[in-house]
Symmetry: C2
Subunit: 194 residues, 2 copies
Amino acid sequence: MKIFDTRTRQGEICNAAVELFYQKGYHATGMRELSTLLGMTAANLYNFFPSKEELLYHVLEHVITVFIDNVRSVIDLNADPVTQLTAAITANIRFHGENQKEALVSDSELRGLQGEMLQRVLEYRDKFEYEFRGILERGIQAGCFAPVNPKLTAIAILTMCTQVAYWYRPQGVWTLEDIAENYCNFVMIGLRPL
Amino acid sequence: MKIFDTRTRQGEICNAAVELFYQKGYHATGMRELSTLLGMTAANLYNFFPSKEELLYHVLEHVITVFIDNVRSVIDLNADPVTQLTAAITANIRFHGENQKEALVSDSELRGLQGEMLQRVLEYRDKFEYEFRGILERGIQAGCFAPVNPKLTAIAILTMCTQVAYWYRPQGVWTLEDIAENYCNFVMIGLRPL
DNA sequence: GTCTATACTGAGATAGAC
DNA sequence: GTCTATCTCAGTATAGAC
């Protein structure tokens, strides 16, 4: 399932942009090049997005909100912390493996944004990190997890998941399920209370 | 201790390049801009490096070799796997925290390279990953570690360390020693044989 | 929504004097 | 090693017709 709606011209532009940003990076990608890939003129792109940076913003904003909704939707608020953490890690890895290019771009091209557009994306990210950390904190409180530092550990775990977008190969030896299972085991054992 | 020799003009150029690549990215940095920062003309840069890409290559190659030597030097070949892994993780995190900009650039600007220059840097990286994985494999063999998948786990651990360059703040709450200790604990418990 | 045409700027890079 | 001057090309973006 594609993240951007391929039935609209805007969605097509975003998908093509992701493809090029993924291959060469945001700054190395030209509007001319993007328009060629889409079979249209560069000028026409400006009928959809007022600037290249706004295009990037639209892409990043959309990817991160879909990602967050995605992870939130698998977390049962009534479940115990171990179940919640397992679900969060699994969904996180799956997203970064199934939407590899989108995820990688949204992770690596943040620096292409400035000012308010940057702030808005950062808010999403911080909010998500906060929610994720909450699972760890409640687990520690409840005695399901060892009393680790929640913030550091949250970063460590999220980092591991995010990076899957960089090295995962769909044709490779491991499926996303393998990776998720492996990482969940690693984390759960690492968090086991003594 | 700076990675590039500040007594040579080449070293100065590399340090300035790292600074700008860190702030804005490789593609967003202009040769004019770089030369201004150095107090020279853009034309003069070409007396040191034949192209912008060669400059990037020189930076990345130097950073990765210093990094690898750095980690290798702390690993006692006669020590047990747990000691070796602890030393490797600690040195890794220290390098990425103490040479934050250099490490971040060398991690994120690889895509700026093409062809043979890219291949050469990738070889360094693969070789290092191979050596690191060896520690895990010997530890599993010896029964010090649980029988995890060595390749996946090596990636997970290295990723956690590398990413320190992205979020660590020298003025922050945690020292690099705190982070290293925390991560080592997390990993060692996660690898504890049942 | 899409085009042609083009303005304007800055990029990387080179030649050749000093 | 450093400069001035300059080439060439590609970048983002706009105006205005259809």
